[in-house]
Subunit: 313 residues, 2 copies
Amino acid sequence: MSESGGDAAAARRPPWPGGAAWIDGRYRPVEDAKISVLDLGVTRSDGTYDVVHVWDGRFYRLDAHLDRFAASLARLRLDPGHDRAEIEAFLHGCVRHAGLRDAYVSMTCTRGRPAPGSRDLRTARNTFYCYAVPFVWINSPEQQKQGASMWISEVTRIPPGSVDPLAKNYHWLDMELALLDAYDHDAELVVLGDGSGAVTEGPGYNVFARVDGQWLTPARGTLHGITRRSMIELAAEAGDPVREGRLTADDLRRADEVLATSTAGGIMPVTAIDGKPVGAGVPGPLTLRLRDAYWRRHEDPRYTTPVRYDEPS
Amino acid sequence: MSESGGDAAAARRPPWPGGAAWIDGRYRPVEDAKISVLDLGVTRSDGTYDVVHVWDGRFYRLDAHLDRFAASLARLRLDPGHDRAEIEAFLHGCVRHAGLRDAYVSMTCTRGRPAPGSRDLRTARNTFYCYAVPFVWINSPEQQKQGASMWISEVTRIPPGSVDPLAKNYHWLDMELALLDAYDHDAELVVLGDGSGAVTEGPGYNVFARVDGQWLTPARGTLHGITRRSMIELAAEAGDPVREGRLTADDLRRADEVLATSTAGGIMPVTAIDGKPVGAGVPGPLTLRLRDAYWRRHEDPRYTTPVRYDEPS
């Protein structure tokens, strides 16, 4: 393997505000973070990942993300070759090398490369890498003033009997094509169905709708997002519990409020469905209150972990 | 982007018998062929590919593979940034730089990297690369003497309503977990179901069974492989046409002969299903005749294209 590109890159001293990665055994600018085109993570999308965010210098619910990553690894029989404490240290190290106060921090484990000429998966040594980049918004605070427009796609989300959505994975081609279709209909967000009239999730977010005086979110066929969990807890704390069940496309169309939840942006108001306004067509009052509560939690030590900015590189 | 690793690598003169790639605008040893971990081909498996093989210095059915790649690109709204003649030239160039007489030649186009901080797919410039590596056998000629053992998985193949199997894609996690399960049952190959009792395909191969005196292969829920097409043509030429329809797990279990077809190995006999022998438990006579006819075609100029080994690099 040629390491000279990485060596040259490593010689450029941090911080690397465009992003920093830990890959192939060292920290590098994220621009230099690359994997082999022969890695089964590329050629078979055989891998899992998780994404945690840092806000104002603190990880949000880092333990919950590390727990989920461990569960995804076990489900896919992957071994990152590092224990939890090491992975956690690499995540801190990426944020430190990037010098970011607000960051989107991703960790990935792929099946790796099989032995040359072999198709036997058991000959592959799994690949682990992680990186921190500037915080990514699915819908920016500026865009959130108006709220997002969501399209209900005809595409059926890959069903749990084929790929378990609880093991976070990169099988997004159904969502990508649905999203391109949403753009054609002047929408920025999309939600996919389960083939029976219920909706599941969008590319990177869960969906909640205020229907008949209650928050409703899909229970099945969707990733159990950590922000989804925060939303469920915050609604319960407000005395207004969420029902996890079947959310139909018709429910979405007649909802009083709709919101999307994601690590990449938190709780985000949706103000149009299929081109028609949700309620009054502006971010709903309950949504705004929950969003505020969500961001307030980012100062609460019960849910946050200060980034170790001061450790030696 | 750091190019110095590639520069150093390119300074090592071809041939590169371990494999050669065309990526980031130049030829390199395949060991140096890497893509960004931020490419949507990695983070969303948003891309398509095709694989053609070279046997004894000649591409087999190159036009058919290029036709299918073009159709997959159109289906996924991807633009490789090169026309068909250029792509064909890069494929020849990869084989030439590797100096291989027998090769497995892969071409890929991914969505590429979105603009920093953006989730908008329309900000991404698509990525194209291709490479040639030594010919890969799903089942080697030595293994084929005994024939392969196949496991019928409980996993449902990702359905066409979610991801169109006719646009060749890297969504293989269902097949990967099914294959790991097959290993646990001492099988080397696996076939996935469609959730209704019919079988679809395995990781990289189509399946044919000799049932009630006729060859039968799934019509739907499966990639239309080029080797599958060859098998259908060869059987018809032998006056023994294949029926494309519904192939059930029970059909497979009671078949007189079973075979798998793939660019990575051609027509390959399957001699055990779920641990029980197919027929007499040895490669079937019809299978062996079709396999011979398949390899004879590799000398036929109607189906083959000589590699341009002599062009300047």
